[in-house]
Amino acid sequence: MVDPEIPVLTIEDLGILRSVAWSDDAQQWIISITPTYSGCPATDLISTQIRLALLEHGIRNFSIRQVLSPAWTTDWMTEAGKEKLRQYGIAPPVGKAIDEALLENTIVPCPRCGSTHTKLVSAFSSTACKAFYECQDCLEPFDHFKCH
């Protein structure tokens, strides 16, 4: 299943899907998901889509749980996921999320031409998880999936 905002990534690539497990006690499947940002409006939609997908496959005994801890981080994004993101035109997160000092001087390569001559236009962008950049060489504006 893909993310509604970034249709090239699955919820597993993104690290939103934390676990799927059968519970003998509850006699049901427990699906655990975690939101990227507290207010991410896609979380409710993702949960609905999981529900529909399971029902379509005839699975009725399940419960979907939202877990907040440990908090979601871009460090969980798979390498394959990062590459898919770049090919889609979104610069993948650069570096590790915990490195606060790095945030200040992050160089984000342009997902189109690969140039490192890029400029932060806005710390916020089309969705909560992205920042807005501009490539100074190919002049293409692009989204950067923020380190988080």
């Binding site: 939101p35 940002y37 507290s38 207010g39 991410c40 409006p41 877990v67 907040l68 801890s69 440990p70 908090a71 979601w72 981080t73 999320a97 606060e100 945030l103 236009v121 806005s122 710390a123 916020f124 962008s125 089309s126 909560a128 807005f132 923020k146 988080h148």
Partner: protein, 271 residues
């Protein structure tokens, strides 16, 4: 504080959780007034994104408060949590807590309900609040309540980003042109008297946060940034307080009237 207009025992964690939720919700509602009115598109989007983060935090805290309240009521029977001791049908939900409580039942800081003013005043308010919220969340991530701990872990990263963004604006405008500096000076004068209530321990606190240490750290961070922005913190004649106990400025009522209108006119409506 015995004149607390809240029909709940002060020791119950729900009061503290509602206090955290109310701050986030009112901050979110205020900032979302900028949506479509920002000075440039990028900053319009920035504030809208920040407002969305606050809304998410508020929902997490309200959901937990509702769960706690329903658990308590399943043991003791329904307690009037709604205004005027009104009979309530069904369980408490995140929506009933946000949309059906009255002004005097909100426990947010006065700072967050103040009108936005101009851009300078808005970013200054976000800066003061983010500096507080970052220190708060840094302590709450160690708290003994697993759910509050989880929400704090989630929020801390967002709040750090808000602080970085708003701090940059305070520096840029304070140490900017004569006009921007003057606007920031006026904003500071308007808002400063409402900052005294931040980092003050509410009576219904749960022992999760060392407020004394937080106050020192907040003041240090704020003074440092103001100095860098070439702004002087005003010498306050006095600080306003009361929000933590439901005594609000005249501004909150208008905000709630707008925010709660639909639920009050069309109860239980959904979209």
């Amino acid at each position: 504080m015995n004149d607390m207009p809240i029909n709940q025992s002060t020791s119950q964690p729900i009061n503290y959780i509602l206090h955290l939720a109310d701050d986030a919700l009112i901050m979110s509602q205020r900032l979302s007034e900028w949506t479509g009115h920002g000075p440039v598109l990028e900053q319009d989007i920035a504030l809208t994104n920040i407002a969305l983060d606050y809304l998410g935090q508020a929902r997490n805290f309200y959901q937990y408060a509702a769960q706690k309240q329903n658990e308590a009521e399943s043991a003791t029977g329904p307690q009037a949590l709604l205004p005027g001791g009104e009979e309530r049908s069904g369980e408490v939900t995140e929506d009933s807590l946000a949309m059906l409580r009255l002004e005097h039942e909100f426990k947010n800081h006065l700072l967050v309900e103040l009108p936005n003013g101009d851009w300078g005043q808005t970013v200054l308010k976000v800066f003061f609040f983010s500096a507080y919220q970052k220190l708060l969340m840094q302590q709450l991530v160690h708290c003994t309540d697993e759910q509050v701990k989880g929400i704090a872990e989630k929020s801390l990263k967002e709040v750090s980003y808000h602080l970085r963004w708003s701090r940059e604006w305070v520096l840029r405008l304070g140490d900017g042109t004569a006009e921007s500096h003057e606007r920031m000076r006026l904003a500071l004068e308007a808002v400063w008297m409402y900052t005294g209530e931040l980092c003050v321990q509410p009576d219904y606190h749960q022992g999760w946060v060392d407020y004394t240490a937080m106050k020192t750290d907040w003041m240090e961070h704020v003074q440092h940034t103001l100095a860098e922005a070439t702004l002087d913190a005003p010498v306050a004649a006095g600080f306003q307080s009361g929000g933590l106990y439901g005594r609000h400025t005249e501004h909150l009522g208008y905000l709630l009237a707008e925010m709660q209108y639909l639920q009050r006119v069309y109860p239980n409506s959904e979209w």
